[in-house]
């Protein structure tokens, strides 16, 4: 193994190993100085996860979160110098992390928080003003063939738990009264202007938005949404998307507007 491979392996090892070939000018044990790098690597990455997953941390407490994040750092160190992207597999790690099983919705809260980070840093695209979208849609006789392009920040999450309610309850002090996390709820995440927003939506809306994102026309997206949920409300879902600047282009037949 080359020198830096040995050094890197020791930095991420669970035990306090110190690579050979190092010394301290004063004769101190090099392991006591190698520990500076070990701590910097671990604390820096755990801190980055704590910033990206604040509600996940609140749900299990700081000590548990940091221990869990430390194991994740060792198992899945970053593969890119872009630390804002670090932790994209953290939710899957939490899903399989036995000691966290008593909080069954923890992984989905982490998934929601990852979508929020992604939305925050997603590409910019100028949205259509609500009145522009409404005027264009109302003018169409063949509304079903219209395709909508969504803002790059738009994402959905389907969950068996009340992810949005749990997440929202942790945005204000003491807001967790009478919350049942056991009912299924889905989330819409988007960035409106500079602000990331989270909305509770139903399974039909998730299917609808996913189809739109895949470039399907309105007709097909509505059909899929109704398959997913009889209660799907097209008007409500479209209003949500339009009013929060989630639509950036309207494709009318072969023409793109504007």
């Amino acid at each position: 193994m080359n020198h830096q491979a040995t050094f890197a392996k020791a930095l991420l090892a669970p035990d306090q190993t110190c690579p050979d070939g190092l010394f301290s000018g004063n004769g101190a044990d090099p392991a006591s100085r190698f520990a500076v790098h070990r701590n910097t690597v671990h604390n820096g990455l755990i801190n980055a996860l704590a910033v990206a997953y604040p509600v996940t941390q609140l749900l299990v407490g700081e000590a548990f979160f940091r221990a869990m994040a430390g194991l994740y750092v060792q198992a899945c160190p970053p593969t890119s110098p872009l630390i804002s992207e670090y932790g994209s597999t953290f939710a899957n790690f939490i899903q399989g992390f036995e000691p966290a099983a008593s909080v069954p919705y923890l992984a989905d809260i982490a998934r929601l928080e990852r979508l929020r980070v992604r939305a925050y840093h997603a590409a910019d695209d100028r949205p259509l003003e609500p009145h522009t979208v409404l005027a264009a849609l109302q003018a169409r006789a063949d509304l079903g063939t219209v395709r909508l392009r969504l803002h790059p920040s738009v994402a959905t999450l389907a969950s068996a738990y009340a992810v949005v309610a749990v997440w929202a309850a942790h945005q204000t002090e003491g807001g967790l009264a009478a919350l049942d996390p056991g009912h299924a709820q889905s989330a819409l995440v988007l960035r409106q202007g500079l602000e990331v927003k989270v909305f509770a939506i139903d399974a039909g809306s998730v299917a609808f938005i996913q189809r739109l994102a895949q470039g399907e026309a309105l007709q097909t997206a509505v059909e899929r949404a109704l398959e997913a949920s009889n209660d799907f409300d097209l008007h409500q879902c479209l209003t949500l998307l339009i009013s929060h600047h989630a639509i950036t282009h309207l494709h009318l037949d072969s023409k793109v507007s504007p």
Binding site: H3, Q4, G21, S24, G25, A31, P77, P81, D124
Partner: protein, 291 residues
């Protein structure tokens, strides 16, 4: 090896950052900076913090760049890495520099990636001829890709390598001679390394090619102790600049005159006013040595 960029007699006189104090731009301060337009020479950002596609970070940096000179400071190129430079990352960096047109770009004499793993720390190098050759090759590649000279920052170190054959200052001097890059003199790193290795900080500075200094960094450190109970200083950018570092800074300015100077604070970021006071102190010292 022929230098790709022969450095001018004084890089500080080349069009670049003003010879004033600047601050690291923290997202916590975006709005206050725009609302109050503090009197500062420049802002510096970590390049890797702005490599996302879009969103608020680009929005605010664009507005602040319109008002201030900008220094871009890389923390992820891994110039000292045993492997080749990450071309994808270098391309992202080139695009970012094209977009924001910073007055200066700097990186570290360190490594941070190995294979596909990014270790998120500035890790130390053995100073031998193989490392020297590799570091110079990587700096040549960076400078030719970015089409501009870069500044190389002296490291803060805690350990020494048995296989090192050169002093750190000789190593840095040779890199600068071979590649034509400039020196980002981090005075805090000098102090931290010299205390940790029981060297005289003034002698360390004297051994550097000071004519190549294009920027100075000042920061605070944390204090620990090693297995012998000796002082072990840690470059954590989490405290005000130490008095000993201010004194060393004054010595440097007396030697080489005014140089763009950054106050760095990346952890436990205080109110903007606290950092502005440190910048103002540096500006006062810069004024004293201005001809």
């Amino acid at each position: 090896m022929t230098p790709i960029f022969a450095h001018p007699s004084s890089p500080a006189q080349a069009p670049g950052l003003p010879d004033r104090a600047g601050l690291g731009l923290k997202h916590e301060h975006f709005i206050e900076v725009l609302e109050t337009s503090p009197d500062l020479g420049f802002f510096e950002v970590h390049a890797e913090n702005y490599m996302m596609a879009g969103g608020p970070f680009h929005h605010y940096l664009g507005l602040i760049r319109d008002q201030y000179p900008l220094s871009m400071h890389g923390v992820g190129l891994s110039i000292g890495g045993e492997g080749s430079l990450n071309r994808e990352h270098l391309a992202r960096l080139a695009a970012l520099i094209e977009r924001y047109q910073p007055q200066a770009f700097s990186e570290h004499l360190a490594w941070s990636s190995h294979g596909s793993v990014f270790l998120n720390d500035l890790l130390p190098l053995a100073y031998d001829s193989a490392t020297l050759h590799r570091v110079c090759e990587h700096i040549d590649q960076v400078q030719s890709t970015l089409k501009r000279p870069m500044l190389l920052e002296n490291p803060s170190t805690y350990l020494q390598f048995e296989r090192s054959t050169l002093d750190e200052t000789d190593f840095i001097t040779e890199v600068i001679r071979r590649t034509g890059c400039g020196l980002l003199l981090d005075v805090n790193n000098v102090y931290v390394s010299c205390i940790n290795h029981q060297r005289d900080p003034s002698a360390y500075i004297d051994a550097l090619p000071l004519q190549a200094v294009g920027e100075i960094h000042l920061a605070g450190f944390a204090e620990d102790s090693d297995s012998l109970g000796d002082r072990l200083l840690i470059d954590d950018h989490g405290a005000p600049v130490d008095n000993a570092v201010w004194q060393l800074y004054e010595q440097v300015l007396a030697r080489i005159g005014p140089i763009p100077t950054l106050i760095e604070r990346d952890n436990q970021v205080p109110a903007l006013s606290v950092l502005l006071a440190e910048a103002q102190h540096a500006d006062g010292l810069l004024t004293q040595v201005r001809p």
